[in-house]
Point group: C2
């Protein structure tokens, strides 16, 4: 255990930098807060260090005892946090490969995290996101996953390339779209399916829609406005693995 009391400590500065995507991308590290999420991260084996201003409940090699002021600086939450883990990003391989989602430019970290959480709950095998989708490793997105990010392979890729590969592997690739689309009742389940969800305002890019095998809409009347995480939930439930 190492003790740190200065806000100017180099490690504290490095960790605080992880609040920014640029630093997370450069270092491959990210922070998770709170016991539940840290438990999941430990289980996944991706914890580098644990930082605490109280008694650490874990038996772990690398523990930093810090002051409440440092904790306050490191935490991105309003309520008091007493445990933060520094984690490294890691690549997981899909165990099975039957149900995947593709996220095309989702902007809200809460939506992204919720989609990942839902994907795990309905036994999906992987999440692919486009390069312009928001970062999964920001605090809001991580919290919204409720730890699900440690349970599913997550890739940031060019989705056109991903679609080509999935189709070659025998996947039926379905884009969500309000126009020129079929309801879910009209689209049968098949053994390997991929679903594309789009940006909150713009939906799925037209070129991805055009390259998909089919287009799907959720049957509704009148208002016709669903949050992307809710739409994703309904589709993943309907075609759950």
């Amino acid at each position: 255990m190492e003790e740190i009391v200065s806000l100017q400590n180099a490690k504290v500065k490095k960790w605080t930098g992880l609040h920014h995507k640029k630093e997370r991308d450069a270092s491959g590290l990210f922070l998770v807060e709170g016991e539940h999420l840290i438990g999941e991260a430990l289980h996944a084996g991706c914890v580098e260090a644990i930082i605490t201003d109280t008694k650490c409940p874990y038996d772990f090699a690398s523990i930093y005892q810090v002051t409440p002021a440092i904790m306050h600086k490191l935490s991105e939450n309003i309520s008091e946090v007493h445990l933060i883990a520094v984690c490294h990003k890691f690549e997981q391989e899909p165990r099975e490969f039957k149900r995947v989602i593709l996220l095309d430019g989702v902007q809200d970290p809460g939506n992204l995290g919720t989609l990942v959480r839902t994907a795990v709950s309905f036994s999906f095998d992987a999440v692919y996101c486009s390069e312009d989708t928001c970062d999964l490793y920001n605090d809001k997105a991580i919290r919204s996953t409720q730890g699900a990010l440690f349970h599913i392979p997550f890739f940031r890729r060019n989705l056109k390339d991903v679609m080509t590969e999935l189709k070659k592997d025998g996947f039926v690739v379905i884009a969500t779209s309000l126009e020129q689309s079929h309801t879910m009742a009209e689209i049968p389940s098949s053994s390997q399916m991929a679903f594309i969800f789009g940006n909150e305002g713009q939906g799925v890019h037209p070129e991805l829609q055009a390259a998909a095998d089919d287009r799907l809409r959720i049957d509704m009347h009148g208002f016709e406005s669903l949050n992307v995480a809710v739409a994703g939930g309904i589709v993943m439930y309907t075609y759950r693995g």
Copy 2:
């Protein structure tokens, strides 16, 4: 049109007070930001005044021309906002009365707003929330509704009382619950249905679960963790009006 240039102006102070639930409750007023939401509010006939620091696109009796500094003070968004409407809360009566949701202690304004948005999209007739559910008229909740709050009756009530009334009216009242519950495939649709969704951490209170006609769970494997707005979306889609 009235011009206001001072941040100390009494109206500016009153409007800024509407960022707080206490003032919204006391005055019956709330703020909405941005063209889309203001359009919906005008259509619903609940706008008292429009505040702008640019040219107002609406022909409206009560317009206040303010400085960008005042606008900045009134807005709760990071991005620039040029139009804010002061609205009054209003009671809508359900047109039909076949599908309703009850929200028992939902804490996150984004979840509350999203549930209201989904309810409108699936033709639900009313939303009842418990007294300890978060406020629908805060900025985040309003934005999450995408304007749906102007399209559905919304009541803050004791849910036990509401359940008694609904049952008397012939409703089947169903609580969501992971335990001692039936899957949706086991619960047939009926003409009048009410669904209770609970707090993000605690779920539906045991006494409401006990008073319900049935308990429903969403079929899933492994992780078994859904955001309440996603769960609500799946249930409302399945039993849509």
